[in-house]
């Protein structure tokens, strides 16, 4: 049997999928609002209903995003010279032979992604709530509408890349958000510093 190490716990996995599913519901209905897509009527019943769903799923999204702080923020903010090296080598993604400096539990790219997702997530949620709760207040709504949409545009860049990097680009990664465990050998090549900290190697 291959020796496995646990990378995510059940709470993190469940919360990840709550966040992911709420994001998809919000993004689909978001596109519906953005382009007045009548097709959404067949998914959400009516635009009135879609608005209610969009707003309340937004609450779920915000709560779930908040909970990710307990899992990732400390790690995401710990920076070292190895992160610079990782960035200089493009994370090893642009050459078949590139070697990147040893990484912690999250590699530099994952840390950056987390920070981008967190900041755009906070912006889109906070300003979404303003649009919901302060209707008609011109000064606030105009700025909120703008920021809500800018963050949306950033998110629809970040999230497809995240999905690609966590599936096709890095075989063996997806199971982290399903089973939570990875083979020790797999982790040694990607998260060496983390395994050292845990005393596994």
């Amino acid at each position: 049997m291959t020796e496995m190490v646990r990378k995510t716990n059940a709470f993190e996995i469940i919360n990840h999928w709550v966040l992911a599913i709420s994001f998809f519901i919000l993004a689909i209905s978001g596109y519906g609002f953005l382009f007045q897509l009548e097709e959404m009527n067949s998914i959400f019943g009516s635009f009135n209903q879609m608005r209610v769903i969009h707003n309340w799923v937004g609450v779920v999204f915000a709560a779930s995003l908040f909970l990710t702080l307990f899992s990732y923020i400390v790690e995401a903010l710990s920076v070292s010279a190895d992160d610079i090296g990782w960035i200089i080598r493009g994370g090893g993604y642009f050459s078949k032979k590139a070697k990147v400096p040893p990484q912690g539990k999250l590699n530099t790219g994952q840390k950056l992604y987390y920070l981008v997702a967190l900041l755009t997530g906070i912006a889109i949620a906070a300003f979404g709530f303003v649009i919901w709760l302060m209707p008609g207040v011109k000064k606030w709504i105009l700025i909120s509408h703008l920021v809500h949409n800018i963050s949306f545009d950033l998110m629809v860049i970040a999230i497809p890349l995240h999905i690609y990097l966590a599936t096709l680009a890095n075989p063996g990664t997806f199971r982290i958000m399903v089973y939570g465990t990875v083979p020790l050998e797999w982790a040694r090549k990607r998260h060496e510093k983390w395994l050292r900290e845990m005393g596994k190697i």
Binding site: P135, L146, A158
Partner: protein, 254 residues
């Protein structure tokens, strides 16, 4: 054959402040009366409400020849060609253009978000007690049948006239008005005015415009929403083709 765009031509100089248009509008649209307070002016009600699509604004100006100069002007939806309310509205069919060029609404489709309120350059849309949009719709039900809007029909002095937009503008220019307010603004308004003074005096914005953030959103952020998503997916696929997945058996590691 496309129908010529229709418009209301409003001539404040002809208005006698009788407010027949307010009443006729309420009658046709079955809008109930609301209680207001006398604050020392004949202007009543003091603002548009969900039950008041059109009102006469009373302006008192100092005058050298009289005790006071009294100006009356109809305030209502301007039926912009390039309508900020429609641009920002997220619900299809809630606000729509009629073939005459009126900006009309369908309360059943309205989702009550009030974005139209902030998109409107003229502060016109109001919301009723069920949180549905409410405003002048140029009596779109009447004009569809070839009738005049109730306000124009009832106006005794011709201060509000309804007709083909082009001929109304031509007519005004022929009788000596150099400028027609709303001829070009926002793609051309469907409620156009001839003023003998600066529109500002009548409480009307001289250079009405859709808020810049809404224009930016419409022109840049909306297309970007598709381009970003498509770009991110395309970059991912290209990367996969060019570099493929990360492999473990690099062998360079110690």
């Amino acid at each position: 054959m496309t129908m010529a765009r229709k418009a209301l031509m409003i001539s404040p100089e002809l208005c006698i402040g009788c407010r027949g248009c307010q009443t006729a509008c309420k009658e046709w649209n079955r809008l109930s009366v609301i209680k207001t307070r006398n604050t020392g002016t004949y202007e009543n009600p003091p603002d548009l409400t969900p039950n008041l699509y059109n009102r006469i604004r009373f302006v008192e100006m100092p005058s050298e020849t009289n005790l006071v100069r009294w100006l009356f002007v109809s305030q209502r939806c301007m039926h912009c060609d390039d309508a900020g309310c429609m641009k920002i509205c997220p619900a299809p069919g809630a606000l729509f253009k009629t073939k005459e060029g009126a900006v009309s609404f369908n309360k059943d489709k309205c989702i009550g978000c009030k974005l139209c309120v902030v998109g409107c350059p003229f502060n016109i849309p109001r919301y009723d007690d069920k949180d549905k949009v409410s405003k002048c719709h140029l009596c779109s039900d009447r004009i569809a049948e070839g009738l005049m809007p109730a306000c124009a029909k009832t106006c005794p002095t011709g201060a509000i006239r309804y007709g083909d937009r082009d001929s109304l503008i031509d007519g005004a220019k022929k009788i000596g008005y150099e400028k027609v307010y709303g001829e070009k603004d926002l793609g051309g308004l469907g409620a156009i005015y001839v003023f003998k003074d600066a529109p500002k005096i009548y409480g009307i914005d001289e250079h009405p415009a859709i808020p810049e953030t809404v224009v930016f959103w419409h022109k840049v952020l909306k297309p970007l929403a598709y381009l970003s998503l498509g770009g991110a997916v395309a970059v991912s696929l290209l990367h996969y083709v060019a570099f493929g997945p990360k492999k473990d058996e690099g062998g360079e590691e110690k």
